[in-house]
């Protein structure tokens, strides 16, 4: 089931890419340029753990699947964490405002764990990673529109020490 979901997602991303390329000349300034499907692709709220190491990954609505871009970000984080073995991190999982509070707390936890699992497969010990869900309590963008929501569906890697 999970694989089919991933396939689905990849397909969706591909289709969106094709669509976006097709309309690229016309629609440069629309919000669509910053989103693939409804996953945020821009760098608006992104901060950096180190040179070239983004601190966060974004998710589609109701999803906790890591996109290609997210996996790239997390591989960079893992590489940096391997070099800085004295640093531990907290993965803070978030949801957008379009869901019930309690479900969103669980969803934030699930998203942060998706990121944690990926860091672990790249050799980071689980002892160095803790997970904290904020649900929809700490949006970075206070807007009530699809672009704002896409920035808020995120897992942010924060130095714990």
């Amino acid at each position: 089931m999970k694989i089919s979901k991933i396939l689905n997602n990849t397909l969706l991303v591909l289709v969106t890419c094709i669509l976006m390329t097709a309309c690229a000349s016309k629609k440069v300034e629309t919000t669509g340029a910053e989103m693939q499907g409804d996953v945020y692709m821009g760098t608006d709220s992104v901060e950096y753990l180190a040179e070239g190491v983004k601190d966060r990954v974004f998710f589609a609505t109701n999803e906790s699947i890591l996109t290609t871009a997210s996996r790239e970000t997390l591989r960079a984080q893992a590489a940096w964490l391997r070099k800085n073995s004295n640093i531990n991190v907290v993965l803070e999982g978030h949801a957008d405002e379009r869901g019930t509070r309690e479900y969103n707390l669980a969803l934030g936890e699930r998203r942060a764990n998706a990121a944690k699992d990926y860091l672990m497969t790249y050799g980071i010990s689980s002892d160095r990673i803790s997970v904290l869900s904020y649900g929809k309590e700490r949006p970075v963008d206070s807007g009530s529109n699809p672009l704002s929501w896409s920035k808020n569906r995120r897992s942010v890697t924060v130095k714990a020490n």
Binding site: N62, S64, E97, R98, G99, T100, R101, E102, Y103, L105, A106, L107, E109, R110, N113, A114, D117, V131, L132, S133, E137, R138, P139, V140, D141, S142, G143, S144, N145, S148
Partner: protein, 447 residues
């Protein structure tokens, strides 16, 4: 069937008054509220002076009658008439109303009463009269400490409501909620409590840490809620009287979505670990923790049936958020929501027959109810964002919170409490000093 029930109660209540004409049907939307007169409670000069000294209220008799009036009006079932039209003085009306006078202003029921200062206490008597039948329907008296004067007004309201509708009232109750302030990205949240009518508002926490989802114990003045104390989201127990707090259980991770069992002896909640959330209970007496669900999905927002035998909860095991019911030991899990859209926050009615929920469909949020087998889904209200219904103790009214859509600059956010009758009528803003969310309705305080 309920009509019959009301009738039976009437007959049992006053066998000599089988011709009583007043009957308020609360099972349908009431577009024609019953006109009634709340005569100010009469008070003698000495009592007036004494209460003024203690409570700093010039006429406690009329203050109490205003509480009764407001309660009955907000219920949507009654239309309290303008006092300026009253012809009879309060003290005389309480002895023997001149029914023609009250009939003239179209009052069908009349409430009269008297307040006296007795041994430093507040003594209140009140009567409910059927104007058309020219009969007394009820007479009660009680004595309490003067500082309880607002509760006296609520108790009178409950008695009148019960006598006229055949069902228990919900006025002598409190609401616990989360008071919110500050920008949307950095909200400061505090636990707050107030009387059902918005008075006696009090903050219970200082706002140093994020707090969410407070819920009353149905049998005591205890509250369970989620706090981010030391950045560890955990379920806590708070005694409102003493202010003592403790963590519930010893879980290696986030616990959330707490509620009490109907007998108040257990807390049911979610525990999240490794991307899965399951439902657990903890017995408050022997501290034994029990796992109720075990599934790789998110299982949350559990709520017991009033007899404690079943639990409804929210799960995405089908792929998306839906409502499920199971036995309280976790067996016989059954999905009950099958309509279009996502379903969350199921809450079992105190009457046992309905489950209230939040629904998201095509970008709109709804508060609705369905029978416990999932049939008869009825949506009560639609909005940009609203969720988390909580039942009045008589199962007739739901309180929930609503958030506004911000403008293109992200401005204009607010969160407020609203209430609506089970009928879908009588939607009202519940006024709070700050923004507010996550309301939970207490049981009746007096019983």
């Amino acid at each position: 069937m309920i009509r019959k029930f009301i009738l039976i109660i009437f007959i049992l209540y006053s066998p000599i008054n089988a011709f009583a004409l007043i009957e308020v049907d609360i099972t349908r939307g009431n577009l024609d509220p019953l006109p009634l007169a709340v005569s100010p409670l009469s008070i003698d000069e000495l009592s007036k002076k004494n209460f003024n000294k203690i409570l700093n209220k010039e006429n406690i008799g009329s203050e109490i009658s205003i509480i009764v009036e407001n309660n009955l009006r907000t219920s949507g079932l009654f239309n309290p008439l303008d006092k300026d039209a009253f012809l009879q003085a309060p003290d005389i009306a309480n002895l023997k109303p001149r029914f023609e006078d009250w009939n003239l202003i179209k009052a069908q029921a009349l409430i009269t009463g008297k307040v006296t200062y007795v041994n430093e206490k507040l003594r209140v008597e009140f009567r409910l009269w059927d104007v058309l039948a020219a009969k007394e329907m009820m007479a009660l008296a009680f004595t309490t400490v003067p500082s309880n004067w607002r509760r006296v007004g609520h108790i009178i309201s409950d008695k009148v409501y019960e006598r006229l509708t055949g069902e228990k009232g919900y006025f002598d109750t409190r609401i616990i909620y989360v008071a919110e302030e500050g920008p949307k990205t950095q909200r400061i949240k505090k636990l707050a409590i107030m009387d059902q009518d918005g008075f006696n508002n009090k903050f219970l926490t200082l706002g140093n840490e994020l707090v969410l989802t407070p819920r009353f114990n149905p049998t005591s003045q205890m509250v369970t809620y989620l706090s981010y104390f030391k950045n560890l989201p955990r379920v806590y127990l708070l005694d409102i009287e003493t202010g003592t707090q403790e963590v519930v259980g010893d879980f290696p991770g986030m616990t959330f979505a707490p509620r009490f069992s109907p007998n108040g002896k257990k807390i049911i909640m979610s525990f999240a670990k490794d991307g899965k959330s399951d439902i657990y209970t903890m017995d408050l007496e022997n501290r034994i923790v029990e796992r109720i669900t075990n599934h790789p999905s998110i299982d949350t927002s559990p709520s017991y049936s009033p007899d404690g035998k079943y639990i409804c909860f929210n799960s995405d095991r089908s792929g998306y958020q839906q409502i499920y019911v199971m036995k309280s030991d976790g067996s016989e899990i059954k999905r009950i929501s099958f309509g279009k859209g996502l379903y969350g926050t199921p809450v079992w009615s105190p009457r046992g027959d309905l489950i209230a929920f939040t629904k998201l469909h095509k970008g709109k949020f709804y508060i609705g109810v369905m029978r416990v087998d999932g049939s008869g889904e009825r949506l009560l209200t639609e909005n940009f964002y609203q969720e988390a219904p909580s039942w009045s103790p008589n199962g007739r009214v739901l309180i929930f919170y609503r958030e506004t859509k911000t403008n293109v600059k992200g401005e204009g956010f607010s969160a407020k409490l609203w209430s609506i009758d089970l009928t879908g009528y009588n939607e009202r803003l519940v006024d709070t000093p700050t923004d507010a969310s996550d309301p939970s309705w207490s049981s009746l305080l007096s019983n």
